[in-house]
């Protein structure tokens, strides 16, 4: 047993080597070689390997910048998000918020951190307690984090509701979440995330549960708020078509790695990683021509993150594989043009 434990420790210790680098001044959040692994148990005790959910992710998020993380389910984007929110502890690497390493936070400092970071959940109905009315739901962040009076809290709720266009605001306060439409529920969730005037908002697929006609409205609202309050936003999604209306930079994630980082225009007009190409090809625009052609989809499925493929994680599905290189060595990030980084050997 002890041996197994020691082994597990060794395995965990390997990626702990940290990249210490200078953080530029206007960077709000800096992710440095972040690894989030989940241990698998054998019969409740022994170690049966790790799920490498996030494996070596680095990026800087500047003040009042909107970025999008795009990836399929199981690529680790939710684990990345939850680590940024301080819900998971990183296995290796760092999450640095305003020059403080959040993985070293205790309960008290985490509370301070969370009042600076807003979270917009995917399923608005699931994100609100069904037995609390909207007033209680909206008040909660201020009750926990501030010492303001009830009147002051109501005042803030009014301001925020005006911004998310929930008017007249006192109509909504006594209602319960199930009495609102999907779009209104999502507005309440956005409003709640705004209550404490956060510097960073993490939005996890904020529109995927909504109807087409409301989707754009919510995205525009979110972008409006971001520009007005100069918040930084991390927008997590699987839908490339909504990204271009929202963020400046896009990160494409595959199997725990960010495989391509680029400005929106560069990514859409000059996609470079084979996975990005596949994603773009698979996304449809409404066009009757689609019905007459077959889509070019890479074979297979995203890899199991317990035993990810050696080398480049996309190599078993990649149409442009370089035999003898891609399956052996992990590709580093190549800068193919300014601020356009691709983790692929094709650009060596």
């Amino acid at each position: 047993m002890a041996q197994v434990k020691a082994k597990a420790k060794n395995k965990i210790a390997a990626p702990m080597a940290r990249i210490e680098r200078e953080i530029p001044e206007d960077v709000l959040l800096s992710i440095q070689d972040l690894r989030v692994w989940f241990e698998l148990r054998k019969l409740g005790f022994g170690n049966a390997g790790f799920v490498h959910a996030v494996d070596g992710v680095s990026f800087d998020l500047h003040n009042s910048e909107a970025i999008a993380v795009v990836g399929e389910s199981g690529c680790g984007k939710s684990s990345l998000m939850k680590t940024i929110l301080g819900l998971y502890r990183p296995t290796g690497g760092k999450v640095v918020f305003e020059n403080k390493d959040i993985s070293k936070f205790n309960t008290q400092t985490l509370k301070w951190y969370r009042s600076d970071v807003g979270y917009i959940q995917q399923d608005p109905y699931g994100a609100m307690a069904p037995f609390l009315n909207i007033e209680k739901i909206m008040e909660e962040p201020m009750v926990i984090n501030t010492k303001k009076s009830h009147e002051e809290r109501l005042d803030r709720i009014r301001k925020v509701f005006e911004e998310v266009k929930m008017m007249p605001y006192d109509d909504f306060l006594p209602k319960f979440p199930h009495m609102l439409s999907g779009g209104q529920q999502q507005r309440v969730v956005i409003a709640r995330a705004m209550m404490l005037e956060p510097k960073l908002i993490v939005a996890d697929e904020p529109v995927s549960m909504l109807d087409a006609s409301v989707r754009v409205e919510i995205l525009k609202l979110l972008r409006g708020l971001q520009e007005k309050h100069k918040m930084a936003v991390i927008y997590i999604t699987h839908d490339l078509s909504t990204v271009r209306y929202f963020s400046r930079r896009i990160f494409v994630m595959y199997a725990g790695n960010i495989v391509e980082k680029a400005a929106v225009k560069d990514l859409l007009y000059n996609p470079s990683h084979p996975y990005t190409l596949a994603l773009l090809a698979a996304t449809s625009d409404p066009d009757a021509k689609n019905a007459r052609t077959f889509k070019d989809v890479p074979p297979g499925e995203p890899p199991n993150l317990i035993n990810p493929p050696t080398g480049c994680r996309f190599h078993p599905r990649c149409p442009k594989i370089i035999k003898g290189l891609c399956e052996v060595e992990i590709p580093p990030e190549f800068e193919i043009e300014k601020d356009h980084l691709v983790k692929c050997w094709l650009y060596k």
Partner: protein, 318 residues
């Protein structure tokens, strides 16, 4: 064969009894579909599109208030059939359903193969070996390895389970398959894959499809015809070609404008307001309140206007 009508639905109504009154989920729907043709029913949540699927297949809950109209399948009005006759001769024999979230509704304690062959054993009364042979054939069509028949649902990925559900709807070789949101919970690449599978089935097995979805972009992958549903009614019935170029009904136009596009620089727009409650829908046009081109005539029920074979329920075209 090809220009004959496979199914024609006339004035189909399905109303539910609830505590607050009567919900008119499907309120006078007409549609017509030929052999080897695919129609997409587009609509937002709560417009009654899933109820329409259930009404066509007569899979009704207990609280039905009204269920009327005609469902004419290959020239026979199957609405006249008793429940027993319908089950024996129509459901899963002539038409089958891939329900919403089908991939999550597979039984976890049965092998996939046992579930996929079940419709065949129940409806066609064939032997188990034959049923398995047929299931194998269908698995080839949908691109699932044959040995997955011996596995349990949890061993398959989401895309594979969805394909298995499609294979299950195919085993009895029906002429019509109703798909309710077949790809809404799947990833982009898997979605593209499922649509490839559906297109191939349409070519190889000459099946007809009714595809029910809210996703306009992916719906164009399969559509020959498009029906737009709003508040329990079909407001536009159009060829896919014409629809995706220029829809007729103001609601369809707004809906198309709300689609975020990957390959065009057009800023998407949204529709102000909410669909009306189906408990007490407005007397006149149901889209009137949200319509940018509404005028005084709209307070009366709009007729369905035939504009060169395209149907639109709007006063603008009268």
């Amino acid at each position: 064969m090809k220009d004959e009508t496979l199914i024609s639905v006339e004035d189909l109504k399905l109303h539910f009894r609830v505590a607050k009154g009567v919900v008119r989920a499907v309120d006078g729907v007409n549609l017509k579909l030929g052999y080897n043709e695919a129609v997409v029913i587009l609509g937002e949540s709560g417009c009654g599109k899933t109820s329409l699927a259930k009404a066509i297949l007569r899979l009704l809950p207990r609280n039905v208030q009204t269920y009327s109209g005609k469902v004419i399948l290959k020239g026979v009005d199957v609405m006249q059939y008793s429940e027993e006759e319908f089950r024996e001769n129509v459901r899963w024999i002539e038409m089958s359903l891939v329900p919403q979230a089908a991939m999550n509704s597979l039984n976890p304690v049965l092998k996939v193969g046992d579930q996929v062959t079940e419709p065949l054993l129940v409806h066609s009364g064939v032997k188990k070996e034959e049923a398995y042979a047929q299931a194998k054939k269908m698995f080839q069509h949908v691109g699932v390895p044959e040995d997955f028949l011996q596995r349990y649902a949890f061993e398959l990925s989401g895309g594979m389970r969805q394909r298995a559900a499609i294979a299950m709807s195919l085993v009895t070789s029906p002429d019509l398959i109703v798909l309710d949101e077949p790809t809404s919970a799947l990833d982009v690449l898997t979605q593209a894959n499922i649509f490839n599978v559906l297109k191939r089935i349409k070519q190889e097995l000459e099946t007809s499809f009714i595809l029910i979805t809210h996703d306009i972009s992916t719906s164009s992958e399969l559509a020959d015809k498009v029906g737009v549903m709003y508040a329990g009614q079909i407001v536009e019935w159009n060829d896919a070609e014409a629809f995706f170029r220029k829809p007729l009904h103001p609601y369809s136009q707004k809906l198309m404008a709300s689609v975020p596009r990957l390959r065009a620089d057009k800023e998407p727009d949204f529709i102000v307001g909410q669909p009306p409650s189906l408990l007490d829908p407005p007397k006149g046009c149901r889209f009137m309140e949200r319509c940018p081109s509404a005028f005084d005539k709209c307070s009366q029920e709009p007729p369905t206007i035939n504009k060169d074979g395209r149907l639109v329920k709007c006063w603008l075209y009268a």
